[in-house]
Symmetry: none
Subunit: 218 residues, 4 copies
DNA sequence: TATGAATGAGTCTTCATTCAT
DNA sequence: AATGAATGAAGACTCATTCAT
């Protein structure tokens, strides 16, 4: 499933032997994400990542053959869950699409209150100039999938008559994603006063406006 | 005025020596932006920047004392114009705020078709982990200002009765900015199929939805 | 007996545990020779040697305490046989020394067609700068012995009247060894077109010239 | 002329400017040869080479892009002179080929008394396993050329009637080179008692034997 | 005996920055 | 104002060697 990027190196064999060798890749990826986020991919030092994972520099190379591989594995590891969640949520709400959209938006806003959620996207934005394949990978594996799930939901809304016929589905999708993205960047990257913490307020208002723009005048 | 960041070194004094020495800082900043965008701040090499600006590595240091200073100067240089334009546009449309919003959105979409426009924001996102002051600076000097201009416009719309009273101004502003941001990142960073080139289509639909959500039912 | 070099560690004691544990040191030395030859002593990796010997890296250390010890053991192991063979051949031909010299040369040429035969000398040449003791060891244990055997043979030839009296024995010996050495390096190191494969031709001619230079004018 | 290996990096421009930048490549190559010879290519440290050349580690990289490039440049630099000298000597003696051969041999023996002369061949032998192209390069550019020059000389001897007709030229050539090679390795690599210092003795005897094997019985 | 896991000590290479001219 | 030359400091990656099992 993880399409393009180089495959993980983790070896599958004996899961019981020494210390907690099995947990290592996970720990390393966590440490790497933290360092990459804090300093950027280039400025992050393998030694710091290793230390944060409780290992020596050289040991990291037992699990990942290079810094770049670490980046790739990192993104891959975070990709699956996100895309899946988006799809599940979208499908869950085919009965009342408008309500589902609001629920989805609020859930997303809530999720995004955790800085780690945008760590990966932020990282992708940071390295996109140097490693366009990573941008492509992230677009196709994550954003595109989330977008399609959303589109399906809006399409369902149109079929049900809850959303006006002349609404362009793509446009609506982007209008939906955009504010969430802005809020996340505003909060975690630009360190502006967050509205994510009280989704009942700002975010909800935002989506009310949007939904009102979508819905059929009854 | 430029809040925290280091001062602009010095204007290279008398231009008596060689050709357009006066233009040098400009050229260097352009080259730096290009390199920073293409490779990221850390990975960009001073030598490449110098070469792109038609100078020797050492000569760059006659104008900017360090790589960091280059980054700061870069951001500062791009800050003024953007904020100003936003303010002008906002004020220009106090008569028919709704129309002004649509015009503004389309103009912004058009502008953003040029990749260089998001070069700086992308850069800011990339270095925000390492240099939070830069994120703060950009937020306060650019985004905040644009946001306030927009808020003023929407406030005006409410005052004129074009926008419904119960609309939360902050929420509306974010709903306005978000889709533009998404579109820019989607196009230039994630290299998705752009909608920016034909603003009459997708972007316009997007804002139609938003504006319909804002406007008072006639 | 093996002069300076470190002692042979220890014979791996009782072979009761696994299969042909007794053969292990042999296998390891073979693998080591192959790797050392292919990459040079410094560039050869213990891991590759271990893999080639069918063991884990750590297991190699059960038999040899260090990479250097491997090198020493390697050279020692190959030394005995070669010196012995030279001596035997030399003694075998005391009756007709000239014929014996030709036979010896052809046999040597034939032997040297196998690249492994010069693997050790080549290795010695490669490390001689770094480990002069190894060069000394090889000189005294191998080359010197072979040289003395040859000298004895030529001396015998003089005594029998087959070789002219005024011939300098040392000079003749070197004239004998040199071409073989050249041919081996030319073939296996410099990868030139070999003459070793058809010893009836080039090599034989070579020794004909030499022997004609040695023999008493009848 | 330097056929295959990557081209030198030395820049040709202004030969007077700063310190003695122009002499640098030469100095570095000398230092590199010394280190490579003393420790072998792999074990030699760039830092030591730099220090020996009176530079910082990084400065070496201004002249040669990598350690490997240093090795290549080194071999190339030493190749031309050697091949040329061989050719000149050979051509100089077409009148009395037998005398020329003896002169050549003694000159070669004399030259080889300097350890630096076999430094490069020894290095080539050392790295030939890892970098076969280098072995090939050295074979074609140096050994082959020297060999051909010698063959021409012997051919001339046959034409003049000084050397017997049935002598195989290739065989004679190798018989000629071999002892020199042995003597050089014996002396400088194996550190045996040298005969090179008193060429009037051993070496001369060696060649007397050889020449007597070559010459026509008068 | 055998090994997967781990690491300390190194080495090449890069690069922002300085200096002499 | 401008640059070729030079370097100190750093970082990715490697590998012989050790250890716990």
């Amino acid at each position: 499933m993880p399409a393009k990027l180089s495959p993980k190196t983790r070896k599958p064999p004996r899961p019981k032997w020494r210390r907690r060798a099995e947990a290592r890749p996970e720990e390393i990826l966590d440490a790497a994400l933290a360092e990459f986020t804090a300093r950027g991919f280039e400025a992050a030092r393998m030694e710091d990542i290793a230390k944060a994972a409780g290992l020596s520099k050289a040991a990291v190379y037992l699990y990942f053959p290079s810094k770049m591989a670490l980046l790739e594995a990192l993104i891959q590891a975070k990709v699956g869950p996100i895309a899946q969640r988006a799809q599940m949520l979208a499908q869950a709400g085919r009965d009342d699409p408008l309500a589902a959209l609001r629920t989805l938006a609020l859930a997303a806003a809530h999720t995004m209150a955790d800085a780690r959620v945008i760590a990966v996207p932020r990282l992708v934005i940071g390295v996109s100039g140097r490693f366009p394949e990573i941008a492509d990978y992230y677009r196709t594996q994550v954003v595109e999938k989330a977008r399609l799930a959303l589109e399906a939901l809006i399409e369902a809304g149109k079929a049900k008559g809850a959303i006006r016929d002349e609404i362009d589905v793509k446009a609506a999708t982007r209008a939906f994603i955009g504010p969430l993205l802005f809020e996340a960047l505003w909060t975690h990257v630009l360190r502006g006063e967050t509205a994510l913490a009280q989704p009942q307020n700002l975010i909800e208002q935002q989506f009310n406006i949007l939904l009102r723009g979508l819905e059929r005048r009854s």
